[in-house]
């Protein structure tokens, strides 16, 4: 094990995959300027700066992916994906299907989001659920350095378009990364902490929030399990349902706004398939239906807190119907 930051874990993943496969290339806004190690090793054909034009960055990736390359694009901040929606949703997500399976679109689109840099809602907007709702795409949002590396490598090797969201607040968080080859399959959640009394389901920056909440709950004698979804689409339904059946008490936690968010999907999934196991109604602890503000104080208030998660777990325990 080596302890490195999320940023460095991603850099390792990119370098290893570019070394492994000459078809992998990376381009985007400032990619060649900032990723100087990649530029030095792989050259200016495979590590490229682009105009500040997300539509053509994404479209170029989609066209390249359909014809033999495996592009990774950096679109900087998630709200900028609005300029690339046609290319990602209408082209990358649909043209395989519409062509009757004639084409594959192996590409990875990286974008940052989340509270932490006080940049306001045109740079911080957790829109991962938008893409989960779009057919043909995969959506990844890791929580720790090891998963960032393993999931990014798996995303680059995947033959489908993958949206890879980087929670800004995690970017310089250190974490242990295994030495040697590290691959984390897409679509597999992780049990970040085992527990028997209540299940906290989350992804990205709110996984550490849930782990802290689990510590606090443990001090009170409540054993909380923490599930890290890691991949939002395809969703690891089996792990979610097994957890719901195991504890009968589920709290879903995410920073994205509540309405039609990932938590709503999980609530529906549990209600459809594990209702009889529930000892209390599922709870969601999420960001509000508001644009994320810039003010640090307001931005922090936007994010689900440890206290809010602990409180939700308390309510579930109190409301237990059997």
């Amino acid at each position: 094990m080596t302890t490195i930051t999320v940023y460095d874990a991603m850099a390792q993943a990119l370098a290893e995959e570019m070394r492994r496969d000459a078809r992998v290339l990376m381009f985007g806004e400032g990619v060649a300027t900032k990723r100087t190690e990649l530029l030095a090793e792989f050259g200016s054909a495979r590590v490229r700066n682009t105009p500040l034009a997300e539509g053509i960055i994404a479209g170029t990736a989609v066209g390249a992916a359909a014809t033999g390359l495996r592009p990774v694009i950096d679109l900087l901040f998630a709200p900028f994906l609005c300029y690339a929606m046609d290319e990602l949703v209408n082209s990358a997500g649909k043209l395989r299907y519409l062509s009757g399976g004639q084409f594959e679109f192996p590409l990875v689109a990286i974008a940052m989001t989340g509270a932490g840099w006080a940049v306001g809602s045109q740079h911080n907007h957790n829109i991962e659920a938008w893409f989960a709702h779009a057919p043909g795409l995969k959506v990844v949002m890791p929580s720790n350095a090891s998963d960032f590396k393993g999931l990014l490598k798996a995303a680059i090797r995947d033959d489908n378009p993958v949206l890879f969201f980087v929670d800004i607040g995690l970017l310089y968080q250190p974490g242990e990364v295994p030495d040697g080859e590290t691959l984390v399959p897409l679509g597999q959640a992780a049990i970040a902490r085992p527990g028997q009394d209540v299940t906290l389901i989350s992804y990205a920056k709110t996984v550490p929030v849930c782990l802290q909440a689990a510590d606090a709950l443990a001090a009170e004698g409540i054993s909380a399990e923490v599930i890290d979804l890691r991949t939002i689409k395809p969703l690891d339904e089996a792990t979610v349902l097994a957890a719901a059946r195991r504890t009968g008490r589920v709290v879903v936690v995410h920073e994205a706004s509540r309405t039609c968010g990932v938590g709503a999907e999980i609530a529906a999934l549990v209600a459809e398939h594990a209702f009889d196991s529930l000892k209390a109604p599922l709870r969601r602890v999420t960001g509000p239906d508001a644009p994320p503000p810039a003010s640090y104080a307001l931005e922090q208030a936007f994010v689900p807190s440890v206290d809010a998660v602990v409180e939700a777990a308390h309510q579930l325990s109190a409301a237990s119907r059997r």
């Binding site: 043209l95 519409l98 062509s99 009757g100």
Partner: protein, 335 residues
Amino acid sequence: MNTVSPTAAARSTPSSPVIPRLDQPEALLEAMLLIRAYELRLSTHSAQSGTPGTCTAVGQEAAAVGVVSALTADDLILTNHRSAGHLLARGADPGRMMAEVLGRRDGYCKGKSGSLHISVRELGVVLTSTIVGGELSLATGVALSQTMLGRPGIVACFFGDGAAGEGIFHESLNLAAVWKLPILYVCENNQWQAFVHRRETMVGESVAAWAAPYGIASATVDGNDVEAVSAAARAATDSIRDTGKPFLLELSTYRLRGHFEPDDQAYVNAAELAAWQARDPIERMKTRLLAGGGFTAGDLDGIGTRVAARIDAAMAFAEASPWPDATELLTDIYA
């Protein structure tokens, strides 16, 4: 039909697809006639049977055939919702295309595309987007693959004057110029942007003029003269192969039918429509061949008969093709 269509034969005997040589006047005319007959047959079929209406390019056949005639088998094509001409000129089987339009199993895309997004990888028609401008966003990446993977072919991207109003047109041209991508941008300026005349949406007459600020060479040619289009497209592709840089070829033409079928065209100026009908690219080519090309009226009738028989067989093939199995609903979503 009591004859075995060429398509059925092709399906039962796997063979490499044939990209037709469009290097003789007769072949150019026949390709245009095939496109016209294909589109009119589907229009009639839609009116009679209630099958989905298509977006035709009737009147624009010279643009499609002329440009495709200048491409090599290595070249790749991206197109849009008004794509039948590009596909047929490239050698797509009209029976499989009609089956696609009817949503049948033997369509090139298993019926999942319908008329709007047909692509045929084996013919190098690699991507088709019906989002106006979508093809412009994808062409840069296809050209990047050609360059980085050391492939010889260039990329021809067909779009209309409507797409030139999209921001992505400008993003595409700029990146292609900066990265020196081998793209032939083909603007089929058919004067209509869905239901709005181009005159209402742009100042000036020419999309080609928008290439120069990006450092891209361009030419404008009479899009209803198939030989002129072919010559201009050859000059353009020569330029791209010589310089490695993109080129924008604008073809001045006219959409003689509506935005999609059916469309009463009540919004069309009758005098303008009549003026362009008088410049019908097929009639002009016929007149030229009769006047000095060594062709007789009987020769041309023979071509027409051949085309009509192909379209009859194609329609019969499409109508006989089964619906896709319901299990196809959930295939081809992910690789």
